[in-house]
Amino acid sequence: MTARAEFLDRIRREVARTPGLFGAATAPRPAQPAAAAETVRRELAERWPQALDRFRLEFERVAGVFHRVADLGAVPDILVRIARERGAGRFVTWDPGVLGFDAAPVLTREGLTVVAARAGQEDEASRQRHRADAAAAQIGVTGADLVLAETGTLVLLSGSGRPRSTSLLPDVHVAVFGRDRLVETLEQVGIVLESLHVDPPRSMSGAMINFITGPSRTADIELTLTRGVHGPKEVHAIFVEAP
């Protein structure tokens, strides 16, 4: 195993031997990421209806299923309907505190099983239990930290009370979001991620960010498009109107 210094010295020597092929610069980072992200937020406060329309169009193009409800109180009914239509009985969800609503009362009343991740649980026993629950669940319910219109993409940050597998192991993933999560372009996502990075308490609370654009898919056998090869076969997005 080469030592770091020796490895980097070799590269430094090679880099010094040439001016390069042409004068070039990397993409300029926003000078003040937090302010730039705030500007994006302000702009979207005006333009969110157009962004939502575009998101819906692109999301449905990648086989996503879009729902729209008046307020959080209507979300559990949609979840019940999704479960009934698919004959599914087991849910796993992010922490209700993170989601902003608790679907368990309605779902259990309907005879469905719900396991919610709880922020703060991280001992080995909870870990093992949660993994088994997530692997057994047919529907996973999460929030979405960013909803990207131009590609129909849901961006999810992992962290306390927001496990990675909720949007991965179950056959169906349902993400619930409001207007404040909408952005229009990848470039804006870049700005938000740059601002996240200069905000250590937020950026250090979870180690993974996933961009999810439709269900898991493959075309590896004779180029036949097949959904749900490893991850979810279906992805639903529920837009909640009430701010």
Partner: protein
């Protein structure tokens, strides 16, 4: 690719591929589909061309300070709790992974598709050390069960029929499965789900690594990249040093063009950003993250002829449009990286001598350069490579002698005129339907795999003289 396969010379490997009727059809269907999807995707994306220029500039600018960016990447990966390893050669990279397996009692490792691990033949080394590597990308899984090698960078099993896959799964997974892609995919889902939940280690490559944040970026459609970085207790990422990019802002430029170039998607289903092992408070994620930075011949090219090949994103677009790849497929190339860019990457990793024949497996038509998301000038480098093979006397002496003679003829009008006249007379026994075939002696190896237009009964120059 095993050395045994390479003992068969390239023209014979290519010849066998040309006679394989199924392969021919599969290649045409697959590459044509990828070309159409890419074209459609860029047609509705007017900013795409400017983004390609920016992406190219980012790659070049990053290379101009590669040492600094790697240093920052390593510092930031360590700051968030990861461990960085430095591997000068493939041997070192394998040894790093094997030692991790030994020290931590790893028995099974699940892998998400990674060309870098193919490049260092990691699977063989793991098996030899008693660790079971499981490829989890469906195409790679099929290839692994069949003990074969990938034939396309992003569609590794395009050379297999659904019937062959059904037969393979029935035998290896003990069942009776029909030749239905949907059912076969479900079979693989069940088999691999178990492996994801059991494995001790997840092994990935990296499409990008962001120096500012110490983030490893994986782009997949199946979600296996997420599985292997979320479920096992150890995550090992192996990446070539050229994959580092400075910032999240840069990353967005690449994401906007990568999937479009590869499969015509706006984004792949999953883009996964991994920043160190799991954090306090997280229920899931690995306890340990190891990043192995692999040189393996790359740094030698920073100030050399193949520099531009270090921009490559491994999207596969140049394979699909290449008239040679479209005919012979990935296996005939005989190395990890096929297609036009593969010739250059093979020269980079294994030395010029390894592409003595392959350097000529291109018509220099330039289609690869047109579709490359970062506009790599592959034809220019192929010509330079050929020139180098000649200068270093790596090319066969017969080839060099013929070209030297040709050069003489072209430099002297009198010699050229004379040779045309002599050629017209000498070519007679070998002309069939206006083409020269089956030339004798030195020229034989040239016409074995191609034909040439015959010298015209009256050349342009002769007609021109009469016209005046």
């Amino acid at each position: 690719m095993s050395d045994a396969a390479l003992r068969v010379p390239f023209p014979e490997r290519a010849g066998a591929a040309l006679k394989d009727a199924f392969l021919q059809e599969a290649l045409t269907i697959a590459t044509t589909k990828f070309i159409d999807l890419r074209k459609e995707s860029f047609a509705g994306f007017p900013q795409g061309e400017a983004l390609r220029d920016r992406a190219r500039a980012i790659k070049e600018a990053t290379l101009q300070h590669l040492d600094t960016h790697l240093e920052r990447l390593a510092d930031n990966v360590e700051r968030v709790g990861g461990t960085v390893h430095w591997a000068t050669s493939a041997d070192e990279a394998r040894e790093i992974v094997l030692r991790l397996c030994r020290d931590r009692g790893v028995r099974m490792a699940v892998k998400s598709k990674s060309m870098a691990t193919e490049e260092i033949d990691l699977n063989e080394a793991l098996e030899h050390a008693g660790v079971t590597p499981v490829e989890t990308d469906l195409g790679e899984y099929i290839i692994q069960l069949a003990h074969e090698k990938p034939s396309h960078i992003i569609a590794p099993a395009i050379h297999k029929t659904k019937g062959q896959v059904a037969e393979l799964f029935s035998r290896e997974l003990h069942g009776e499965f029909p030749a239905d892609p949907e059912i076969l995919t479900a079979v693989a889902r069940r088999a691999l789900r178990e492996k994801f939940l059991q494995a001790d280690m997840g092994i990935t490559g990296a499409n990008f690594a962001v120096a500012d944040t110490g983030t490893i970026v994986l782009v997949t459609n199946e979600g296996n990249g997420r599985m292997v970085t979320s479920l096992p207790r150890i995550h090992v990422a192996l990446m070539g040093i050229e994959k580092v990019i400075p910032s999240m802002t840069d990353l967005m430029v690449f994401l906007a063009i990568l999937a479009r170039s590869a499969t015509g998607q706006k984004l792949s289903s999953y883009t996964t950003l991994v920043r160190g092992p799991r954090r306090p408070g997280e229920l899931e994620g690995p306890e340990e993250l190891h990043l192995v930075l692999l040189d393996n011949g790359r740094s030698r090219q920073i100030a050399s002829t193949l520099r531009e090949a270090l921009y490559c994103l491994r999207c596969g677009a140049c394979l699909n449009v290449c008239p040679v790849y479209r005919q012979i497929g990935g296996h005939a190339y005989g190395h990890t990286y096929p297609g036009p860019i593969g010739i250059l990457l093979t020269a980079m990793l294994k030395g010029d001598r390894s592409v003595r024949d392959l350097a000529h497996a291109s018509s220099l038509c330039g289609a690869c350069k047109d579709v490359c998301p970062v506009r790599i000038d592959i034809p220019r480098m192929l010509i330079e490579l050929r020139e180098h093979l000649d200068r270093e006397k790596i090319a066969p002496w017969t080839e060099r002698a013929v070209f030297r003679l040709f050069r003489r003829l072209l430099l002297s009008p009198a010699a050229f005129r004379l040779s045309v006249r002599a050629g017209r007379w000498l070519q007679r026994p070998f002309v069939h339907a206006g083409r020269l075939r089956g030339l004798p002696l030195l020229f034989g190896s040239w016409t074995r795999t191609r034909d040439l237009p015959a010298v015209a009964s009256r050349t342009f120059r002769e007609q021109w003289k009469d016209l005046r």
